[in-house]
Symmetry: C2
Subunit: 325 residues, 2 copies
């Protein structure tokens, strides 16, 4: 493989000139530029980017930590990230960690190793304190609200959004409210859970452990939740479900058993997924795409500007009124 030295030799110039041409620097005469370009073409030469990375101390790559790429939530965030990365000519290293702390730490180590210029943490099992230690090695952006930390974050107000959803439900007259949550790992699920409990307490609404259904990740889990709801002596008259696809399962199964939605059971979804639009599920849009896009823009800015000042960006949410509540 040819290198810059060989190009210089054959083109009859110095390596500096070749480098200047390569990086579009000024102060290169037309003749020499042409000669260099010619030789590059002839020898089918390209730069060895590893050498560039070594000397510049930058790699043009950002790592993304998330647990499962095939979940709607994460794939949309990733879409936003990828779109912006493409615009910025940046590379994205997808680190699907399954919420394994060891694997997540390995990614942060990559920042120390200078293998990447920054890290975007979409969802993690790591404590904020651990993440903070790595801010010394490069910019980090999380997509969770971790408070005012030494790293940046862009997040949805899961707490407020969830309360708003509940407010919407009681505004429609529902008082017996059930709850359907996904995986317990993420920080957002526990935020939603406390929002739920606190809201119920504040509004003197009945709380029943039986109406709390956990680990609903798929359509099938939603359907199973519907069946368990049907078996109850006393059912909630409304249920708030994290994830429209789970809500879809719940709705379809409920209807199969003759329940009318929302007359017999109101369902409030989450995430504004395409399936929710199809089934006319009332849901909460929380701007997942924008979260990803925004996260990349922030980290890109921090990489370029070398400004270590963390940024905290709160994203708006909104209730999408359809017909299941």
């Amino acid at each position: 493989m040819a290198n810059i030295k060989e190009i210089a030799r054959i083109a009859g110039v110095s390596v500096t000139t070749v480098s200047r041409v390569l990086n579009n620097h000024p102060y290169v005469s037309k003749d020499k530029r042409a000669a260099v370009l010619d030789t590059i073409d002839q020898l089918n030469y390209t730069r060895n980017m590893n050498a560039v990375h070594l000397i510049t101390g930058r790699t043009g790559a950002v790592a993304v930590i998330l647990p499962f790429i095939n979940f709607f939530y994460f794939s949309i965030v990733m879409d936003g990230l990828a779109h912006e990365a493409l615009l910025a000519q940046y590379r994205l290293i997808l680190c699907q960690t399954n919420y394994s702390p060891e694997e997540e730490l390995k990614v942060l180590e990559m920042l120390r190793n200078k293998e990447i210029d920054g890290v975007v943490i979409v969802s993690t099992a790591l404590q904020p304190e651990v993440i903070e230690e790595y801010t010394a090695y490069g910019p980090i952006v999380t997509c969770q609200n971790s408070g005012e930390r030494r790293f940046s974050s862009v997040y949805i107000e899961h707490y407020a959004a969830f309360r708003h959803g509940l407010q919407y439900l009681i505004g429609k007259g529902y008082r017996k409210i059930g709850y359907c949550e996904g995986r317990q790992n993420g920080s957002s699920s526990s935020i939603r859970q406390s929002a739920f409990r606190e809201f119920l307490a504040e509004n003197k609404l009945p709380f029943q452990e039986a109406w709390m259904i956990y680990d609903c990740m798929t359509e099938e889990h939603g359907a199973a939740a519907a069946r368990s709801l049907l078996e109850m002596r006393e059912r909630p008259d409304a249920v708030i479900v994290s994830g429209d696809h789970v809500a879809a399962g719940l709705i379809i199964e409920s209807r199969k058993h003759g329940l009318r939605i929302p007359e017999d059971l109101a369902v409030m979804g989450f995430d504004n997924q395409p399936i929710g639009r199809l089934l006319e599920i009332t849901t909460i849009d929380n701007q997942l795409y924008e979260m990803g896009a925004s996260a990349f823009r922030i980290i890109h800015e921090q990489i370029r500007g070398d400004s270590t000042l963390p940024v905290y960006r709160k994203l708006a949410y909104r209730i999408i009124e359809r017909s299941t509540v």
Copy 2:
């Protein structure tokens, strides 16, 4: 930042010895090893991997080319890839290209630049001939059947699978068959399309252009397809739809208008998605996860073994009988 030289100086050994410790080479005495390890710990040292990549000529990274990460199909393949990459301690660079040939070429250029050790092409707008040119710079694996090329491939027999699906439909007595296809870009969609036309011709089944519905990518598109079907004077009595989520839209909208599935309209899905299971959609499973996992295993083997011999792996498909046909 500390480097290997400084570690050597402080530990009172040579850089070679430090390097040996770093790489777990033999022939290092217990004392010196301990001294080195101590200093590394004290100075909070890690290797600059860019230097390692430069001298070894490897990066431990593989790029993945796909158009849209938030499509079910691609996110499942990516899941398979990511799972295997994690096991192999390899990094995955996600290149969401939107089927832009320029962007896809940029990724292949990364192979030339030594930024990556290999490329997995899940779906592309590039011609096989163009891809072949880059096999000189490192292993490439595609997830499409491109024939016996100079690069490897792992693929589903879209042609056979689709014909099998049609065979299943006529076996059930349907003769007026419609077709619902997604984005026209991918190679698999054109394969399915010719499978459809040829099967119809061979079996002397009626072909109607009006029954060919294109660009159905989402649940909503499926619903729209249902509405256009309802308006027809003469309707197909069965329709084969690429993507269970699109089939779901079609089914739900059809039922909303009083159509019975499968009595009035049989629906055959594709991809075996969770929503299909919920709605009991008869579908074709084409092992997307395994495709991704297999693609990574192949490329990993080729990177390690330096064997440039391409591998062609055909994946089995199977019809999942449920209740929409």
